[in-house]
Symmetry: C2
Subunit: 329 residues, 2 copies
C-alpha cells in the first residue's frame, strides 16, 4: 500500500498547498492520543481561519479523557458523521505514519491522500506529498506550518498544540524531548494558556478500574535478586474477578518499576487464550529487548514485551526469571 512516487515538501511548500481554500478532511490515526486529536483540530482551526471548510475524521471516536480538546468543535469524528460537501474534499492526514494507522478510513480515503503530515522522520509514505520531519510530536510540525504562514497562533489553537506536544512527550518527561520541543512549548505558553489544567486532564485522571488493578498488582508484587528484579503476576482469573480489562492493566508495570532500588520490572498477565503476556522495563543499563526476543518478542533496550507459553503463571514467571538471571550473569 506504500507509494513509490511521492514528494517530500518543505514547510513553506506545504503551506502553499494548504492555503487555497477547499473543503478539507483531516484524518488522524486509530485509537487516537492527544497528539493526534490536538494536531488535527489545530490544523482544522488554522485552515478554517484561511477560508477552508474542514472536518476532522478518525476510524475511532475521540476517547472520553481527550474530549475536552474537541467536544466544542465537533460532536463526532467518525466517517459516518461527515457532513455533505466533503465528497471531493482535499484529504490531509496528521500523526499517521502508515496506511494501517488509518484503520477503516483507509478504504474510504487511502488512495487519495494529498498530504501526509507526520513527525516520525520515517514511516510508510502513502500520500502524493509528505511533510515528515523528525520531531517529538506532530503538534510541533503543525505549529511550524502555522508560523510559516505568518499568522499568530490564537490561544484555542495553542491549547490544542500544547496538548499534542505534552501528550507525546509524557509532559516533557521522555527522551524524545529536544531543545526544539521546549522552544515550541515556550511559544505556546506565551499565548496565555492553562497548561496546568491541560496536563491534569492528560495525565492525572485515572479510571477507578485502573486504580483497582494497580492495587491488586501491588499486593502481588514480588522481589528477586536483592530487590533488583520486581515481578507482578496478574492471572486471567483475577482480571475476571475484579472486572478489569486489558486497558486497565497498562500501568501495572509502572507499579513494579517505580519502587526504589528496582533495576528490572516485569508484569505478567494471563490472557483468555491461556498464554501469558510479559512486559519488561529496565531502569538501568540492561537490555530487556534481548530477553524479550529470547521468547520471540521485542522492543527497545528499556521497554520490551513478549508472549510466553506456560502451563501456569508461576511457570511463566519462572521462565522469565531464568532468562533474566542468564542475561544478567
Amino acid at each position: 500500500m506504500a507509494k513509490t512516487e511521492f514528494r517530500a515538501l518543505t514547510v513553506d511548500e506545504a503551506v502553499a498547498r494548504l492555503t487555497p481554500p477547499a473543503p478539507t478532511l483531516i484524518c488522524f490515526h486509530t485509537r487516537p492520543d492527544g497528539d493526534a486529536v490536538g494536531s488535527a483540530f489545530a490544523l482544522s482551526l488554522w485552515l478554517a481561519a484561511m477560508g477552508s471548510r474542514c472536518y476532522c475524521v478518525c476510524a475511532d471516536e475521540v476517547p472520553q479523557y481527550l474530549s475536552f480538546l474537541s467536544a466544542d468543535l465537533q460532536e463526532s469524528v467518525l466517517a459516518e458523521s461527515i457532513p455533505t460537501g466533503f465528497e471531493n474534499a482535499r484529504i490531509v492526514t496528521v500523526d499517521t505514519a502508515s496506511p494501517a494507522q488509518m484503520g477503516s478510513l483507509f478504504e474510504h480515503f487511502g488512495d487519495r491522500v494529498s498530504l501526509m503530515i507526520d513527525h516520525h522522520g520515517t514511516g510508510t509514505p502513502y500520500a502524493d506529498h509528505l511533510v515528515v520531519p523528525q520531531a517529538a510530536a506532530c503538534g510541533e510540525v503543525i505549529f511550524d506550518l502555522i508560523a510559516a504562514s505568518g499568522v499568530d497562533v490564537p490561544p484555542r489553537t495553542a491549547s490544542l498544540l500544547y496538548a499534542a506536544i505534552s501528550s507525546d512527550t509524557g509532559c516533557f518527561r521522555y527522551s524524545n524531548v529536544t531543545e526544539s520541543t521546549h522552544l515550541h512549548a515556550a511559544a505556546l505558553v506565551k499565548q496565555g494558556i492553562d497548561t496546568a489544567e491541560i496536563n491534569r486532564r492528560l495525565f492525572e485522571t485515572r479510571s477507578y478500574q485502573g486504580l483497582k488493578a494497580e492495587k491488586a498488582g501491588f499486593e502481588r508484587l514480588r522481589f528477586f535478586e536483592e530487590g533488583k528484579i520486581a515481578i507482578i503476576t496478574f492471572p486471567y482469573a483475577l482480571q475476571q474477578e475484579l472486572d478489569v480489562r486489558e486497558e486497565h492493566l497498562g500501568t501495572l508495570i509502572d507499579v513494579a518499576r517505580c519502587v526504589a532500588g528496582v533495576e528490572v520490572a516485569v508484569a505478567i498477565r494471563g490472557t483468555i487464550k491461556g498464554d501469558f503476556r510479559v512486559s519488561l522495563r529496565s531502569n538501568v543499563d540492561f537490555d530487556v529487548a534481548a530477553v524479550a526476543s529470547s521468547f520471540g518478542g521485542g522492543g527497545h533496550v528499556r521497554a520490551a514485551g513478549a508472549t510466553v507459553s506456560a502451563d501456569s503463571i508461576e511457570e511463566a514467571q519462572e521462565k522469565v526469571l531464568v532468562a533474566l538471571r542468564l542475561a544478567r550473569s
Copy 2:
C-alpha cells in the same frame, strides 16, 4: 530576624559580586528538594570554575533520591563536615526564602549572609544583598547569573539546573511554568543532557512504604455527592500497623484526586496527638482554601489544609463533608 536594610541587585550586579575568587559557603534550605540541591551545586561548579573554593551546606543531608545530583561532588552537606579554610567565607544562600528555612544553619551564618539568591519574588530578606526575581525555580536564576557572566553552561551544570527546574515545576506540569521556564529548559537540553533519566530519578522512584500507604488508602477511598467528592481516611492506628510515617502519606491525596469524575479530593489522617490533619484538593473552580480556613487552616484555591479536632476519624470526616456541602450549595 528580617533585615530592614538590604539592596536588591540586578543579575549583572550579582555576577560582579560573585566573580572575585573567595572561599564561599553556599547554603540551601532544610528538607532540601531538587531545586535547592541542583541550584546550590550548579552555583558551586560555576564559582569554582572562576577560582573560588566552594562548599555547599544545609541543615539536613541531601535525601537519597537526590544523591545522584551531588554525591560525586560532596559526600556530605552538613555543617559539621565543612573543611577548614571556610572560617571567614563569603556566605551565599540559594532557594531559601526566609531565615527559618536555613534551620540550624541560621545560628552559624544567619547574620552574615552576603547574598540571597531566590525566585519567589517576595520573601523575608535576611541578607545584605538580594537577587530574588519571580521565576518557577531558583535554577532559572542561577542559569541567568551564569549566562550573564558570558560563559557556557557545561553539561554537568546543565543537568543540575535542569533537575532544579523540573523538580520545582513537577516536570513542567504546574501552573508556575512560564514561557521563560521552557526557554531555560530549551537552553539546558541543548547541552546534550539525559533529561529522561533525570526525570525518572526525580519523579518515578517511590518508596515501598509510600506505595503500601497508597494502596491502603485506595481501599479506604469513599465517594460522596455522586462521585464528585472523594475522601480517604487514614487512622493513626493504620499508620502504626503498616509501619508508615508521615513522609509516606504525602501522595495519599493524589489517589483520591486522580479518579475520573472527582471534583474535590480529601485526605484525613490521624496524628499521634489525637487530632486530624486534613488535606484538600480541587480539580474544578471550587475554593478549598475557604473550606480549610473554616477550620483555622489555609492554602490556595486548589490546594489547602487544616487540622480538625474530633473524637474519631469518622467524626472528622463528617465535619469536613458538612463544610464541603455547605460551601458547594
